[in-house]
């Protein structure tokens, strides 16, 4: 497998890239943070099967994303798997208190990067005539809105429908496209949100963490390994009849 993972310097992206590499794939990690180089070196030192490299690029910028995908394809000898994981949290303000620029930024990064990455990779995969698979990282907050999260929810909901349309357009080329929708994950992005909630309510981060865990039937936060397991499966031949879907990886939250 020749895989590209965006937003791979840390967190879920790093966990996904590390799992793919340990399964024997060649992996190109892309991130806006220069830390991605060190992350790639760390992953490469832990396994020896495939090629692993880091590329510093802003995948929400059209020219930069095109160049980064081309560079990845050159380094890997083609691309047959893409994980659009790059994303940011949105403004945690009510719409009436939110600047348009802040709302627009989260859409541009979360939705724009998924569009640009998918378009660039799909063009390559169609040219290779070898099929392929794309996984977009949505969110449980793309399946249901929350007060104070309009930008993030809209961006992740849009990612799921972008996926849906892409799946229909790319099916004739044997390219599958699916969304994974993580729930409450043990990531810096989620802790930032909980710190913000704690500050707003005059409570502690630990208290906010307990509240979240209490709402999850499996009684824990999700981990990078949880997401990596599901993404690896969606990219694999074991999911070869699955396309256009949104798969929740959320410990059962919001079922009741």
């Amino acid at each position: 497998m020749k895989a590209v993972v965006t937003g791979a310097a840390r967190g879920l992206g790093e966990a996904i890239a590390a799992r793919l590499a340990s399964d024997g794939a060649s992996v190109a990690l892309i991130d806006i943070s220069p830390d991605v180089t060190a992350t790639a070196e760390r992953i490469a030192s832990a396994q020896t099967a495939g090629h692993v490299s880091g590329i510093v690029a802003d995948v929400a910028d059209e020219a930069a994303c095109e160049a980064a995908i081309a560079q990845a394809a050159s380094a890997l000898g083609g691309i047959d798997a893409l994980v659009n994981n790059a994303g940011i949290g949105g403004p945690d303000t009510r719409v009436v208190d939110t600047a348009f620029a802040d709302f627009w930024q989260v859409l541009q990064v979360n939705l724009g990067s998924a569009f640009l990455g998918s378009r660039a990779a799909a063009r390559l995969m169609i040219g290779q005539q070898s099929g392929g698979a794309i996984v977009n990282v949505g969110s449980i907050f793309g399946q249901q809105g929350v007060a104070g999260g309009a930008g993030y929810c809209a961006s992740k909901g849009a990612v799921a429908l972008l996926t849906h349309s892409l799946a229909l357009e790319l099916a004739p080329h044997r390219i599958r496209v699916n969304t994974i929708a993580p729930g409450n994950m043990a990531t810096e992005m989620h802790w930032d949100e909980l710190r913000s909630r704690a500050a707003a309510s005059g409570t502690t981060l630990e208290h906010q963490m307990e509240l979240v865990v209490a709402s999850v039937p499996l009684r824990r936060h999700g981990t990078g390994a949880d997401i990596a397991g599901a993404v690896t499966w969606l990219l694999s031949g074991d999911a070869r009849y699955v396309t256009g879907q949104t798969i929740g990886v959320n410990g059962g939250v919001w079922l009741s």
């Binding site: 849906h164 799946a167 229909l168 099916a171 004739p172 044997r174 599958r176 729930g183 039937p217 499996l218 009684r219 999700g222 981990t223 390994a225 949880d226 997401i227 397991g229 599901a230 690896t232 499966w233 031949g237 074991d238 999911a239 070869r240 009849y241 699955v242 396309t243 256009g244 879907q245 798969i247 929740g248 990886v249 959320n250 410990g251 059962g252 079922l255 009741s256």
Partner: protein, 241 residues
């Protein structure tokens, strides 16, 4: 799946058989259950039972635990029936039989297996077989009783997930689309069937039982450790249209 103890209902044919084989090839100990075994030499260890009988389910789950060396920690509820019948021609007996096999069965077997796991303080994974017919209606192959039973399976799955998460038991479902099994009626008319595949299935082909089994085994595996209560369509994209 090495070290796992699996119970698969409806293992005599189709998706159940493919799942039992896949689980065994990945190292699990597997017991299959079916009402009747069509093969002269079953490819897996098997017990004969009717999943709509509480007595037979209770004794079969206990017997399976003896054979497996402990309570089954993987349950795949694959026993099911599919019959096409327009609503105006559908009899109550037909409705009751389909509901019993497709919905009561997973409840009875799931309850027995979960009780065994909870009593032994063991975690586990349950995979139920829904259908894309639980998500969308089908004018060409009217089967309201089947569709309603499978929609019930998805609700049952979510409830299992929420109620049994405290025991470390995950419960998920797959929703197969048109899969090439003995249950399939779509290709009885090959011309109409092919036309449906061209128009209604983005990947433009039937799915295979092995492809559904691969998703079921993933849902039962540690790679799906944070998935519970979900319904995964395995339909070549047909419900994405």
């Amino acid at each position: 799946m090495a070290g796992r103890r699996a119970l698969v209902t409806g293992a005599g044919s189709g998706i159940g058989l493919a799942t039992a084989r896949r689980l065994r090839s990945e190292g699990a100990a597997v017991i299959g259950v079916d009402r009747r075994w069509p093969l002269i030499e079953p490819p897996i260890s098997c017990l004969t039972a009717d999943v709509t009988s509480r007595e037979q389910v209770t004794s079969t789950v206990l017997r399976a635990a003896e054979l497996l060396g402990g309570p089954a920690d993987v349950l795949v509820n694959a026993a099911g029936v599919y019959r096409i019948r327009p609503l105006l021609d559908l009899t109550q007996d037909e409705w009751d039989e389909t509901m019993a096999i497709n919905l009561l069965g997973p409840f009875l077997v799931g309850r027995a297996v979960a009780a065994g796991l909870a009593e032994a303080s063991l975690s586990g994974a349950i995979v139920n077989i829904g259908s894309t017919a639980a998500l969308v209606a089908d004018a060409a192959e009217p089967a309201a009783h089947y569709n309603a039973s499978k929609a019930g399976v998805l609700a049952l799955t979510r409830q299992m997930a929420v109620e049994w998460a405290q025991y470390g038991i995950r419960a998920n479902a797959v929703c197969p689309g048109v899969i090439d099994t003995p249950m399939l009626r779509l290709m009885d008319d090959p011309v109409a069937g092919q036309a449906y595949l061209e128009a209604g299935v983005p990947l433009r082909r039937l799915g295979t039982a092995d492809e559904v089994a691969a998703v079921i085994v993933f849902l039962a595996s540690p790679d799906a450790s944070y998935l519970t209560g979900v319904a995964v369509p395995v339909d070549g994209g047909s419900t994405a249209i």
